[in-house]
């Protein structure tokens, strides 16, 4: 079994090596080969992951014992490397391999004829491989290695179209911003090592549970680790990189948003859940940040006009949900409101179950975006419209995805969201209400997007002839559409140790109805504004017919509908404020620090006058300074 586990993440890395060392230099006449290699390796990992899943299900307590190997010796303690094959790892493996495989299939159509074809698939393989390694790591150092590799790959892939300066800028931004979190993570790792003398996750969890590490020390460590997660899964205030990361190819966005990059953060919190949950302050921070991010990002999503940006903010919001789910259960555990073992398993189950479902419908939504822009050549939803007739498949699948993310019974999104809401209701009422409002907003912006892009008439340039995308792109979408219907029905939650849910029993709870009602309201509002244009659109046209005929531009009415009161108030009011805050304060701080450092460098540089004797003088001033230091502090 250990060989299988190793093979799962080594295969894609191997395919990266093969592509970049053999195919790209020597066989660049036939770039298709790189696609086959990638598909083969990731497909193999998928099969192996399924095998492993079966083994884990059979294993007592859903944990497979794994051997580990001595890696290096620091001081007198030796660090062992190994893989962790428990239910959490098994589920994540399935998510990553399935989504990645589908994305690779889709990419063939999307990237067809791109000069960087080989490079693209090489990076994709490495990306998948390192994410799989991250999932399997049983040791913080090992995990951090893959953690950084994932960041590096996302840097390369976001900046894939480097001839576009904004792509380069977005890539650098993603890298630098996530690193800010990573340093907290690294510091926490070293700190924990200094305290406990081990990097082994299992041992650390055990030590935290028995209270060998605790108090403020544990809190700081936990918050440090969480800061890493905040950076990777784009939680407030380090979320700014994700919307810009749209500059990469759409399949990359799909992979990043669904399975690899951002999922890593949630996974990390889940993996170290027993440790983080042992500190009330830390887990409370997780819950609050999650809840706030969920609603904050939702407000952003309502004012965007870029197809992929809306989806990006929806991702941030959904990740906020997952953090919220983990957080609230943890709060319950920390308060002692729920038994320890039960609570720990439950938290992981709640968070990861939603991640599991989200992976499929989010990938699906991005494929829809890619397919739409493939036809229209733009991502601006104001220049789309009427795609429903032209691209029935895309529309149908996208509709399913939207319903799923909104959380309509019995689609996948419903189940995960339901659990999170009910847990929040038990342990953190305020956050629960925020989450409820977020449900409404989600419904609104998703269907605003749907109606503007697919409903109505086409508003783009006439020269574009709308055509449905090729089968190689449609098939994966259908596949994912099916998954994003049924994935919620799988007993993942129980498998992870969470609560089970009966298919119709879920409808018994009033909360389900409440959330469904809110979702319906959101959809209705979007429908009213953007599809039916009830709000006096027709009457206006009748009243101002002559004027209309004169000044009519085909955007005119749409702009009008953009400007109806609800949106107007929201846009000019609170959301615009948020947006400003996001752009200037949060983003500004990141940029400001960098700018300050650069300026400092420019100034200090002047000390280097090129005057030999000035350098000599510095030596002796230094000597005197050191002596003075001893005279004063010695």
């Amino acid at each position: 079994m250990p060989e299988v586990a190793l093979a799962i993440f080594l295969l894609p890395i191997f395919s990266f090596v093969v592509i970049s060392l053999i195919i790209r230099p020597f066989l660049n006449k036939r770039p298709q080969l790189s696609w086959y290699v990638t598909i083969a390796s990731i497909g193999a990992s998928l099969i192996l992951s399924l095998w492993m899943l079966v083994e884990v299900i059979k294993a007592p307590g859903h944990v497979l014992p794994m051997p580990d190997y001595q890696w290096l010796v620091i001081g007198d303690t030796s660090i062992h490397l190994g893989v962790m094959a428990d239910s959490l790892a098994a589920v994540m493996l399935i998510v990553v391999t399935v989504v990645s495989l589908v994305v690779q299939i889709y990419s063939r159509g999307y990237m067809h004829g791109d000069p960087g074809y080989c490079r693209y698939f090489a990076f994709m393989s490495l990306f998948t491989g390192s994410m799989l390694g991250l999932v399997l790591a049983d040791n913080l150092l090992f995990l951090f290695v893959f953690w950084e590799l994932v960041g590096l790959c996302s840097y390369l892939l976001i900046g894939f179209w480097f001839h576009r300066p904004e792509a380069a800028r977005a890539a650098t931004k993603a890298f630098i911003v996530t690193r800010i979190g990573d340093f907290g993570f690294l510091a926490a790792i070293l700190f924990l090592y200094a305290k406990t003398g081990t990097f082994d996750i299992g041992e650390l969890q055990h030590l935290a549970l028995v209270g060998a590490i605790g108090g403020t020390a544990l809190t700081w460590a936990a918050i440090g680790i969480f800061s890493g997660a905040v950076g990777k899964s784009a939680q407030f205030p380090l979320h700014t990189w994700l919307p810009d990361a749209m500059e990469g190819p759409t399949p990359v966005s799909a992979l990043i948003h669904a399975a690899t990059m951002v999922a890593a953060g949630v996974f990390l919190v889940a993996r170290l859940f027993p440790m983080i949950a042992s500190s009330y302050e830390a887990i409370m921070t997780v819950a609050i940040i999650g809840g706030f991010t969920a609603i904050f990002a939702a407000t952003m999503g309502m004012v965007m006009n870029d197809f992929k940006r809306i989806l990006a903010y929806s991702t941030i919001s959904q990740l906020g949900y997952m953090m919220l789910g983990l957080g609230v259960v943890g709060v319950g555990v920390a308060r002692g409101a729920v038994a320890l073992e039960v609570g720990l398993a439950l938290g992981v189950a709640v968070g990861i179950f939603h991640l599991f479902n989200h992976a499929f419908f989010k990938a699906l939504l991005f494929f829809g975006a890619g397919s739409a822009s493939h036809a229209t050549g733009t991502f601006d939803i104001r220049e789309m419209g009427g795609l429903r007739k032209a691209m029935p498949w895309t529309f149908a699948t996208f509709l399913i995805g939207s319903l799923s993310i909104v959380g309509i019974w019995p689609l996948a999104g419903f189940w995960g969201k339901e659990q999170i809401l009910s847990q929040a209701w038990h342990y953190a009422p305020i956050l629960f209400y925020l989450a409820m409002i977020t449900v409404f907003m989600t419904a609104f912006y998703m269907f605003r997007l749907l109606f503007l892009a697919f409903g109505g008439e086409y508003r783009g340039g006439a020269h574009v002839s709308l055509r449905e995308s090729p089968a190689v792109m449609i098939v994966p979408m259908v596949l994912l559409a099916i998954l994003s219907v049924v994935s919620g029905w799988l007993p993942i939650s129980e498998f992870l140790g969470g609560e089970s849910h009966s298919f119709f029993g879920a409808l018994a709870s009033p909360m389900a109805w409440a959330s469904l009602l809110l979702a319906a309201l959101g959809i209705l509002l979007a429908y009213a504004i953007y599809s039916k244009k009830w709000i006096s659109a027709e009457s206006m046209r009748r009243r101002f017919a002559p004027l209309y005929t004169i000044v009519s531009r085909k955007y005119w009415f749409d702009e009008l509908y953009e400007n109806v009161f609800v949106v107007r108030i929201l846009v000019d009011g609170i959301f615009a404020l948020f947006h400003w805050f996001d752009d200037h304060i949060v983003d500004g701080m990141v940029n400001g620090i960098a700018g300050g450092t650069i300026a400092a460098g420019r100034e200090i540089r002047r000390l280097q006058t090129g005057q030999l004797q000035a350098y000599g003088l510095a030596i002796f001033i230094g000597i005197l300074a050191i002596i003075a230091f001893f005279m004063i502090f010695g």
Binding site: R606, Q608, G610, Q613, G616
Partner: protein, 101 residues
């Protein structure tokens, strides 16, 4: 009161400071080399004084080695000065600042 170790040490310190001043203040590279020699000889004085008053020969041996190495250093230094003078027509260290910042 007799001439003791401390007098020699003071002498060497003074000499070292003089050399240092020259090395940092003079503008002619050759003169700077001379001043560095003065600093090294100040060290020699200290070494020999220690060995004389501590009755250890090591200090004198050290002094000999210092002289020798210093000579070698000066040779390379003069060679560089020649090279610079040929390419620049000056040995004024304040004007030798192509590279800065």
């Amino acid at each position: 009161m007799a001439v003791g170790l401390e007098h020699f040490l003071i002498l060497s310190a003074v000499l070292f400071s003089i050399g240092l001043y020259g090395a940092l203040a003079k503008r002619n590279a050759v003169v700077i080399l001379m001043c560095i020699e003065i600093m090294l000889n100040a060290v020699n004085i200290a070494m020999v004084a220690f060995s004389r008053y501590g009755h250890l020969l090591t200090g004198q041996v050290f002094a000999i080695f210092i002289m020798v190495v210093a000579a070698a250093e000066v040779v390379v230094g003069l060679a560089l000065v020649i090279a610079i003078y040929r390419s620049r027509e000056t040995v004024d260290v304040e004007r030798i600042d192509l590279m800065k910042w």
